[in-house]
Every structure is written in C-alpha cells, then in structure tokens.
C-alpha cells in the first residue's frame, strides 16, 4: 500500500533533494532541491505581492508550456495562500476575454509572448522563468528570493481555502468554470494513488495530453509529484518520441494519440502502464496500442465537473465501465447518468450529467452517448453554439451554423460552416476566391477557438436552411457538404489511356434521393465523371458534342470499389469509357468530341 504525499508536503525540506521531479527535453533532470528552491522563491514573491482583491488573495491564471514550471507555480500559489486558475489554453486573445470577464486577476507563465505591455484593460503576466525585475510586473512588486517558505493555510486534513478553477466549454457556448477546493483535488489524488500508484513507481511518467485541463494536471503532474516519480516537462507529440524517452515509462494519453500510432515503428517493450481518457477508445485502437506498446491501455471515463468516474482495462473489458471506489451512480428513465462522488463539492454532492448509460452486471454500466449539443472532437468538448457565435462575430458574416462532418474514411470528425455573408463579405469572397477565403476564415478564428473547432469547409448561403418548424435543419446542412467526386485510390495515365480506381463512399451527393431504398450511381453521373477525368487528353478546343453509344449492364452501389478505364482516340475524336467492378463490366460507352 502506498501512502501518498499531501500536496503541501511535496516541498518538505526533510525530503531528499536528489529525488527526480522532471526531465527536460535536453535530457537534464530537475531534482527536488532545485525545484523546491524555485517554488519557495516564487511563493515568497507571491506572498509579498500586492493582492488583487480585498480578501487579500490573487487568482493566478497558470499558462505554461513546460509542465515542471506549471508544477512550480501550482505549489508556489498553494503555499502563498492564493488561488489557482487553469484557463484551459495559452491563447492571448482568449485570455484577454477571460480577464475582462473577471475569470482571474493575473497570469503566471513561462511564455514570453503572453508578457505584453500591461494596458488598463489587459492582464498582467509574470514570466516565472525570467529574472525578477521589481516594479516592472504590476501587481507583483517588491519581490525577492530567499524568504522562508510560508506555511500553507491549514493542515493536510483541512488544507484551507485555496481553490483551483478549471474552464471547459459549457452547453450554452460560454466557457464554464468548475471550481474545486484543494481538499477535493487531494481526495481525488489520494484515490488515484491507491488505485493506479502501484503501477507507477520506478517509472517515468510521459504525457501526450495538455496539462491545463484536469486529466493532464492530475495524471501528468500531481500524481507523479506525490508519488516521487519524475514526469516529462514537455508534451510528447509524435510516436517517434516515445522511442527516446527514459525507460521504463508510463504513458498518460488519449485516443487522439493512440489512434495515430505508426504501425511501421519498432514495438516498445518498456511501457509499464497506459492510461487513456478524454473520449472513447475504439477496440481496434486499444488492440493496436497493446501490440505496439506492449501493454493494453486502461481507460478512464470522467469529466472536469465530476473528476474520474469509472475505468476499464481494455485487455479484459470492452463494453462496461466500473465505477471508481466511492463513486455511486444512477440512471433516470431516459438513461441520464447522475453521480455522487467524494470528489464533488460538499454543498453539491449530486451531479446530473448529459451522458446516457444503461446498467450492466456488478454495478458497472455501459455508456450510450451524449444528450446535448456539445460535440467531442478528438477528446475536446466543442460547444457548437460557441463556434457559431464566433463566426457571427466576424466582419462580413451575418449568420452562421456549423455541422459535424466526417472525412471519406470516416475516421475523423470536423466542422463545416454554413455562412450567410453580407454585401461586403460576398464582394470579398468574389475577389479572393473560395480557398483564400477559407484560409482567412481559419486565421480569424484561430485566436478564439480550439484548433479542432475551427471549420475546415464552408458554404455561403442566402439563409440558414430550416425545417418546417423553423428549426435549423442539420441534415439539410450536411447535404450541402456532400462530396461530388468518389474517393480516388489510383490514377494512372499511359499516353491516350487513363485508368482509375475509386471507392463510392455512401455520402456521395449522387446517392441522395436517387432511389431512397436502393441507391445507385446515376448514369448521367457516370457519363459526367468519364468526361471530367478524361479532360486532359483531348486537344485544347475540343469539347463534348454527343453520346455515340452507352450501355448500362450492372448498377453501381454505395461502397463499391470501381475501376474506370478511359481511352482517347485522337483519329476519330472519340472517348471510350468502361466502368467495372471486380472485373465485371458495369457500364460502357463512346462519347464524341468536336471543336466548339
């Protein structure tokens, strides 16, 4: 049984200064001695800074690239008796909005870019990695190192009033603030230590998920700190990087990363533990991860509000989730999940979620889906109303709606935007073209939206499609984005011949309404594609004149893999085409070209 350290004992002077805390990208190790000195000196600076509020405390937004700097700031703020805010990102424009909304008082950071000149309506940021220059940092003045470490308010059983505020996207589209007391975070950390801790000693904790959300903070930073296990200061971004991390290691990750493991890289055998959270891990991804990394991932289901709720070992369990110790749950008649857990605030011990579940044997449950208009894209909760509000706020746009779309392989979800431009917007579009307009749109949204929330495709319309009840019609909007060309697998030109192979993805526009019960690829579409794909062969100036012959033998259906053979006969100005499927001809024809 591991007895976990309390947060306020991490910097205890009695602990050996040799304990490794984190390792940096250059391979160097940050040890407790240096870490303790940094955190002490920062705590002293903060304790002596002019508080932002009448109650004598400051709410510090922690914006860090380096997880060891975040850990330093976290403990310094805790020891100084102030409050911690995790804005959930490090984007300056969005921070300014949150500052004006009163979400925090000042910023602690290691990102020099955030330390712009203080303006009356802008936040003050203190770069904790820069040398202290008294007087230049607004609220933080008269700072000096070497002051004794102030005690944390209260003791381990009653750690005082320090709170940690997290921001996630709420259902209204406004960022939602979830406030946790240090005591509640400590309770949860103790439970995780007991539940997962045995697997972590003598390893290195490696993370692929950002540390400014609850999951990353808890598992990449706080859990290693209290177990005395070193963590990586920077994020792992590519599978390749796992080949060079200190061994053995435990991986704190998410489906976004595991889905993109490279099967071509050598297998890893020094991975001792994999935790995945943030979204559902598909069975084949879990299997592939076990194969590549040598151990099956554990999955955690949870939320910022509730913390961790349930878990499963993907080696044993594919459908059902087991609640963590102390978590009690129930489902109403709609299957809506409600929770009681020791991590929830004492004054609000019941949390009603937007998740739908059904009961399973032994107190476990199966997750069925979400009940609201928040979409999970690559584990990020994206509130569609927020994205729409951001689009409407852009110059040249009067109304906007977004719909989720999938790539041709169906492996990735992204957003498509349906936009109503004003006169100036339309003129601008005509002047710069569709592609540049999309690039501009993305650039303008970048300062205020999560990257995965920025639309990748857009359509301009006179008004947003609505159904007969006057409600926005998502199905009709998705229709606007339906692909018009098949998924190309192969294209080869050989003199006057072109051969193509493609898949007819079911989303193709041409299948819609072309016989509801049994969709087939219309003959006119086949003719049109043949002419389109052959366009580079006839001499310039030759255009389609008429169909000489066309014969349909077998229908082409959604999901079919099709070969198209094109042959241009310059002597007769005839284009010959043949569509076939598994070697069997589906249709063939001859088309005459002539000078325009």
């Amino acid at each position: 049984m591991i007895s976990p350290l309390k947060f306020n004992a991490i910097l205890d002077p009695k602990r050996s200064g040799d304990i490794p805390v984190a390792w940096r990208p250059d391979g160097s190790v940050l040890r407790l001695e240096e870490f303790r000195a940094n955190a002490r000196s920062l705590a002293a600076r903060l304790a002596h800074s002019r508080p932002a509020s009448a109650t004598g405390t400051t709410r510090w937004a922690l914006c860090f690239d380096d997880a060891s700097n975040l850990a330093t700031a976290f403990l310094a703020v805790l020891h100084a008796g102030h409050h911690i805010v995790l804005p959930g990102h490090t984007r300056a424009a969005l921070l300014r909005e949150q500052y004006r909304a009163g979400n925090f008082d000042a910023v602690l950071t290691d990102i020099p870019l955030l330390c712009t000149k203080a303006a009356p309506d802008n936040f003050t940021a203190l770069d904790i990695t820069a040398a202290a220059t008294p007087g230049s940092t607004g609220h933080v003045s008269g700072l000096s190192g070497g002051t004794p470490l102030p005690p944390t308010p209260g003791n381990a059983e009653e750690p005082g009033e320090t709170t940690v505020s997290f921001f996630t996207s709420g259902s209204t589209g406004q960022p939602k603030c979830v406030v946790k007391t240090i005591a509640k975070l400590q309770t949860e950390n103790d439970l995780h230590t007991a539940h997962w801790g045995q697997r972590l000693p003598a390893t290195h904790v490696v993370g692929t998920t950002a540390h400014h959300h609850l999951y990353g903070l808890q598992f990449r930073v706080l859990l290693p700190l209290t177990l005395g296990v070193p963590f990586n200061a920077t994020l792992i971004e590519y599978h390749e990087q796992l080949l060079s991390v200190p061994q053995p290691f435990a991986l704190i990750t998410s489906p976004a990363f595991l889905k993109r493991l490279d099967k071509g890289l050598p297998a890893i055998n020094q991975c001792r533990h994999i935790l995945s959270a943030g979204g559902f891990l598909p069975a084949d991804t879990a299997l592939c991860a076990a194969d590549r990394l040598g151990i099956a991932p554990f999955e955690i289901y949870g939320s910022t509000e509730a913390g961790a709720i349930a878990w499963r070992d993907t080696a044993l369990e594919r459908r059902f989730w087991h609640p963590l110790p102390g978590v009690r749950w129930e489902a109403d008649s709609d299957g809506r999940l409600s929770l009681r857990s020791p991590f929830l605030p004492d004054e609000a011990p019941l949390l009603v979620t937007d998740d739908q579940v059904s009961p399973a044997p032994d107190g476990a449950f199966e997750l069925l889906g979400r009940l609201d208009r928040i979409l999970k894209i690559e584990e990020k909760r994206i509130a569609l109303p927020d994205v729409e509000a951001r689009l409407r706020a852009l110059e040249g746009i009067t109304d906007a709606a977004v719909v989720p779309l999938k790539n041709a392989a169906g492996t990735r979800t992204f957003l498509g935007a349906v936009l109503v431009p004003d006169e100036a917007g339309l003129k601008h579009y005509a002047a710069i073209g569709h592609g540049r307009f999309l690039v501009e749109l993305r650039q303008r949204l970048r300062p205020v939206l999560e990257p995965v929330a920025i639309p990748r495709q857009f359509k301009l319309v006179a008004r947003i499609p609505e159904n007969t009840q006057g409600k926005r019609d998502a199905a009709q909007m998705q229709y606007l984005f339906a692909p018009v060309l098949p998924q190309e697998l192969l294209r080869e030109r050989n003199g006057d011949s072109i051969t193509l192979r493609f898949d007819l993805q079911p989303e193709l526009l041409w299948f819609k309404g072309h016989f509801d019960n049994r969709p087939i690829l219309p003959g006119v579409t086949q003719l049109h594609w043949a002419i389109q794909y052959a366009a580079e062969m006839p001499a310039p100036g030759l255009l389609f004149r008429r169909i000489e012959m066309i014969k349909f033998r077998n229908p082409l259906c959604p999901g079919d893999r099709v070969d198209l053979a094109l042959r241009w006969d310059a002597a007769t100005s005839l284009l010959h085409f043949t569509y076939s499927r598994s070697g069997e001809v589906a249709s063939s024809g001859k088309v005459r070209f002539a000078p325009s």
């Binding site: 990208p25 920077t234 971004e237 590519y238 390749e240 990087q241 080949l243 060079s244 976004a256 990363f257 993109r260 490279d262 071509g264 690559e378 779309l405 790539n407 990735r412 992204f414 073209g433 569709h434 592609g435 540049r436 999309l438 690039v439 993305r442 650039q443 949204l445 970048r446 990257p451 995965v452 920025i454 990748r456 495709q457 857009f458 984005f481």
Partner: protein
C-alpha cells in the same frame, strides 16, 4: 516551380479535408501551424502519417527537428528531398 511543393500541398489539402483549397492558396514559405493554415497537433500527426506513407520518410525522435521540418511546405519538401537522396 518545384513539383514536390505542389505534391505536398495537394497531400495537405486531401489529408486535412480542406475542401475548395487549391495548391496556389497555400503559400510555400508560410507557416503551416499557428498563423498560416492554422493546422493543429492532430493535423501534424495525420500529416506525418500521410508523408510517411507517400514518401517513406523517417521522422526524427527529436521534437525540435520535427517541428523544423513541418514549419512550411518548403521546409517539408527539403526534408522529403533530403531523405530521398540519402535513401538513393
């Protein structure tokens, strides 16, 4: 014009579902991430896989190197070309 630049731009458009974009819309020397096309870390992963499939390149285990190679279309093209040369 470098045909590899055009190829990589087409690969980016196709892989990242940026429908309606043409190679001419992507500036060869502009940053792909952040300010330029505004691509994200998942795009980086997808693009990495697509480049490995198409060109058989090997990514470095060094984070900093990979970031440098993925900075722009021209940087990517130089990286692909250098790997193809050393493989030849």
């Amino acid at each position: 014009m470098n045909p590899l630049h055009d190829d990589i731009k087409k690969l980016i458009i196709e892989t990242l579902n940026l429908e309606g974009l043409t190679p001419a819309d992507i500036e060869t020397d502009a940053p792909l991430f952040n300010d330029g096309l505004g691509l994200d870390s998942i795009d980086a992963l997808e693009l990495g896989l697509a480049l490995k499939n198409r060109y058989g390149i090997v990514l470095s285990a060094e984070n900093q190197d990979t970031r440098k190679h993925f900075a722009s279309v021209s940087a990517l093209a130089d990286f692909v070309a250098s790997q193809q040369q050393s493989a030849a």
